[in-house]
């Protein structure tokens, strides 16, 4: 059986259904299965990736040609993101291996796996209602995982997430309704080719519904109230999944829909502005956080604002820069969540102040955190620098100097709160040496990410060669329609 895109969804689902059965036999096996699945998918990704980069692969489900059946669209952008997701998913699994020690472990791994499946499905699917279903899978898995820990705050965060997430799904369902009503189809490519059939006011309304509905998942400014709570209360590996995988999928779906149906200068301007506002407000809010993971959450919102901004510029350069930024954010923020997870675990408190002096007691974890912090601010020679530079150049070539200045002002704020933590980490303070150690699997996960950050930081061409086709694929709606419909 040759590897095809549907494996991304079928195999993890199979494994997820299998886990309860296996759980009756051995708990250790339960822990291993997700790793094996993700390893298989990573292997498959690497096999499939070059093909997807060249030509989009359309996989038909159930043997009915689109627009009648559902098809998966594995284009260059999806290839890029899905590969990122599976590889990152594997690293996150590695980290979870020793981190999640709380029962019900098998439920954790089922939910984790379904969460990744849902996110992958969002990226792959070529059908708008199927997209809705995958959004729901992702959302419900997220709610459950947010409330996974014992404390009351996690339940609160999950409820807020659910409340706002329900708005998102309701709005998105309404969008599907409007689009279906006027075009009579659900396939994205077919829809895009028939977009002119929709009357202007219905189309405008649908656009607003998409902006709000998907904007909730993509965490744009006034809609992201749930995000800091969910990120900070979920277990650390899940925080990494949210920042690295779920929001990427949401932003991809958001931008794909916007580019397919509503790509007009006004809309793009609006996206730039909303991205900028998100960036600035999130960074400002992060400045005064007292909890380390909550701060990371706000920083994540800011980074996604930057991504959305760059996507809104709408040129090939800016789009590839945005994809680069997505990649970096996924890797770096995952690393920060990993390191923060153990910092919180070692210090026994979520507060930033409590990490004081941990740099000497837990040097390796602190080192990884510092590395991540320097990378996410965009300091060379780490990977974050290149994406930020590319974003800035792409904005400058549009002549928007003011936006650059604002982005960089936000970056200064970002630098302040990250370096405040580094400063605290390496401040001398008498603390009792803590017998807890970061386990090997956690260090291995962080080490892999650190190597990625440094290698790409020193030699970005490893990655940049793939960005160009991915960006073109995202921008080129014509090609999407043609290939999507055969």
């Amino acid at each position: 059986m040759e590897f095809s895109p549907v494996h991304y969804i079928a195999v993890p689902l199979f494994a997820a259904f299998l886990i309860p059965l296996v759980g009756k036999v051995s708990k250790e096996l339960v822990k291993l299965i997700p790793g094996l699945v993700l390893l298989y998918l990573s292997y498959g990704s690497i096999m499939l990736f070059p093909k997807g980069m060249e030509n989009p692969i359309i996989e038909i489900i159930a043997g009915f040609k689109p627009p009648f059946g559902i098809a998966l669209y594995y284009g260059a952008t999806a290839a890029f993101l899905v590969t990122l997701v599976t590889l990152l998913g594997f690293v996150i699994w590695l980290y979870s291996y020793k981190f999640i020690i709380r029962e019900p472990i098998e439920k954790y791994y089922m939910l984790f796996m379904l969460l990744i499946t849902g996110a992958t499905g969002i990226m792959l699917t070529g059908d708008i209602f199927n997209l809705f279903v995958f959004l729901e899978i992702t959302a419900i898995a997220s709610y459950s995982l947010t409330a996974f820990l014992r404390d009351k705050d996690s339940a609160e965060a999950a409820f807020k997430y659910l409340l706002i997430g329900s708005f998102s799904s309701a709005f998105f369902l309404l969008t599907v309704m409007i689009l279906y009503t006027y075009t009579g189809t659900l396939n994205l490519a077919d829809l895009a080719s028939k977009a002119d059939m929709i009357p202007a006011n219905a189309k405008g309304f649908a656009l607003l519904l998409v902006i709000v509905g998907m904007g909730i998942e993509a965490e744009i400014f006034p809609l992201n109230g749930w995000a800091p709570d969910a990120y900070s209360q979920a277990p650390s590996p899940i925080g990494a999944v949210f920042a690295g995988i779920v929001v990427k999928a949401a932003v991809y779906a958001f931008i794909r829909i916007i580019f397919l149906f509503f790509k007009t200068p006004e809309v793009l301007h609006f996206i730039v502005i909303i991205g900028l506002i998100t960036l600035i407000i999130a960074e400002m809010a992060a400045l005064r956080q007292h909890q380390i993971k909550r701060m990371l959450a706000f920083s994540s919102l800011g980074q996604m604002g930057l991504v959305i901004l760059a996507l809104g510029i709408g040129t090939t350069e800016s789009t590839s820069a945005a994809l680069f930024q997505m990649f970096n954010h996924a890797v770096i923020k995952a690393m920060l969540f990993f390191a923060a997870g153990y910092l919180v675990f070692h210090s026994g408190s979520k507060l930033i102040d409590s990490v004081t002096g941990l740099g000497y007691d837990k040097p390796i974890t602190s080192f990884f955190f510092s590395l991540g912090a320097l990378a996410i601010i965009g300091l060379p020679p780490f990977s974050g620098f290149w994406s930020k530079l590319n974003v800035l150049i792409s904005i400058a070539s549009e002549g928007e100097i003011l936006i650059i200045v604002l982005i960089l002002a936000a970056s200064v704020v970002e630098a302040v709160y990250y370096l405040r933590i580094i400063g605290k980490l390496y401040t001398r303070k008498e603390i009792d040496s803590n017998p807890r150690r970061t386990p090997i699997s956690g260090l291995l996960a962080m080490g892999i990410l650190a190597i990625v950050i440094i290698v790409i930081g020193i030699y970005p061409d490893v990655l940049t060669q793939w960005l160009q086709p991915a960006a073109e694929n995202l921008l080129n709606s014509e090609e999407y329609i043609q290939t999507g419909l055969f």
């Binding site: 607003l208 004081t356 070539s397 960089l408 605290k424």
Partner: protein, 622 residues
Amino acid sequence: MVEIMISIPVIFVTIFVGAILTYLIKLIMPKVEAYFALLVSAATSYMAFALPKTESIYKFNLGSFNLMWGNNEYSHLFAMLVAVLGFFVVLYSMDFMAGKVNLGFYYFNLLVSIGSMLGIVYSQDFLSLFIFWEIMTWSSFMLVIYAQDEKFSVGIKYFVFSAIGAYLLLTALVILYTNSGSFLLEDNINNFIYLSSQNQILVIIFLIIGFGVKAAMMPFHVWAPDAYKAAPSSFTALFSGALSKMGIFGIGLVLFKFAIQNTDYFTYFQFALAWLGGITALLSTFYAVFQTDAKKLLAYSSIGQLGYIIVGLAVGTPLSIMSALLLTILHGAFKAMLFMSAGAVYYRTGLLDMNETRGLIRKMPLTFLTALMGIITVAGVPPLGGFVSKWMLYEALIQSNYYFLVIIIFVASTAAFLYLYRFIFSLFLGQEEKEFENVKEVPIKMIIPMLLLAGFTLAVGVVPGFVLEQISKAMGYLGIQTPNWENSVLFSNWENSSVNLMSVATSIGILFVLGAIFLTIKNYRSTRYVTTKDIHTSGEVPTENENLTFAVNFYQPFERSLGSVIKPSIDRIFNLIGKNIESAADYLRYIYTGNGQTYAMYVILFFVVLILFADLMFGFKF
């Protein structure tokens, strides 16, 4: 064979890989890492010296950008400074840092910062310059926070200013890139005129501020005193001596490669920058006078000297530039000496507060000698190098009709005596104290760099030619015609006469020596050695170890008269801005009320606003 070996990539590999290895060696074999670091820095310094100045160009592509590294005369001048100081600082650190914790971290960052400074000067394109610039920033930041305990704002302040500077730099670079489509210096220089006039000005201002932050130019100097104080003294020597010079390097480049092309505004830039430099020099001198901490005092002094350099560059006549570059090199040497001697005192006594230290002259004579030569250089007294550069600067200023600036500079450099005297007095002179009885001279590995640097300043004073030669070549790269000079003779344009610096120096020097002899003879008679019981203290008999020479409130009258003018300082303004931003952030945070229902309301509110906007502005027709 050796010629092939020595190329810029090899230098970088040596130092950066060496830095990582040092860190690893520390983990495996403690105590060896210092020797290894010394070896790495020695190799690097040697290669930097031996690097051919023109042919060694290395081109490559990275992330779809063309980059280029290369050496030229201008780079070479700064590379020398970095290489020499870097080596000395590592040597000095071996004993100074011995026994401290986390030495792997220290040497790693030290070597990385040396490497990145070399990277900055060897960069022939803005991108790698910026990359090395940022590496330098974070590695030095790591060293600033290395020694701090429970005091956080120091490092943050340094980094915030660096970040502001760096991001202004980045903005400028990005604008330049979109204009020329390349990051190469050469392309950007050639294409600069195609930039719109408004953007030209923007770019120049951004670049100058960006570089100026590192050079502690007013009003962006406020990070410097704290950061210099917080860093270990060994690193402060490099920090003040070489790292801040990177800003000068950049400003020189910007002024004479870019700004000069904008003929309409160049004079304004010059004028503004010259005044900025002058004010920097004057104010920081006053601040320095009020410091009680030796390192802070030196930090302000450093800012002041950088002010002179900026003035020199800004005035832009060949003579002034030459003086500026000479001062750059000299300042690197003497400020490193001074910080090292302050560090030496700290090494032995654990004190840097000038109210507490005194009378170390007999205990630490060589350190005293270094410090003395350092302050003589700062003050610009012959026969040491400071005199030469000051002389040139005055002459250049007068020639360019900056009379008022001359007065300011003169006042500043006179006032410099005040704090320098205080520095040397409170550390080394005065009554010996019991608590310092066991203080010894510092180990040889710390003395050697100090004395070598002192020797260098002397050499510059006597035969400035060997430095001026390299400087004039560097000026050639900047496209500036060099003034006439011979080994120790400077041909002045001033009424076409030539000034033999040697003779001037000798005459002033003789004057000083005579004066000193006179004073000694005069005081010899009136000097009498007294016991402690001999002093009239209102009838009380002082105990033996009571201190009778006071360095507390050294310049109180002065402070009283000027303090009120200077106290509402720039520092406070920045603090105010920072506070306001933080409190704004605090208010902004309240958007996230924590009530899920409110968030739901935001969603609907946002939707309604959008819908109204869409209807009223566009009528749903996008």
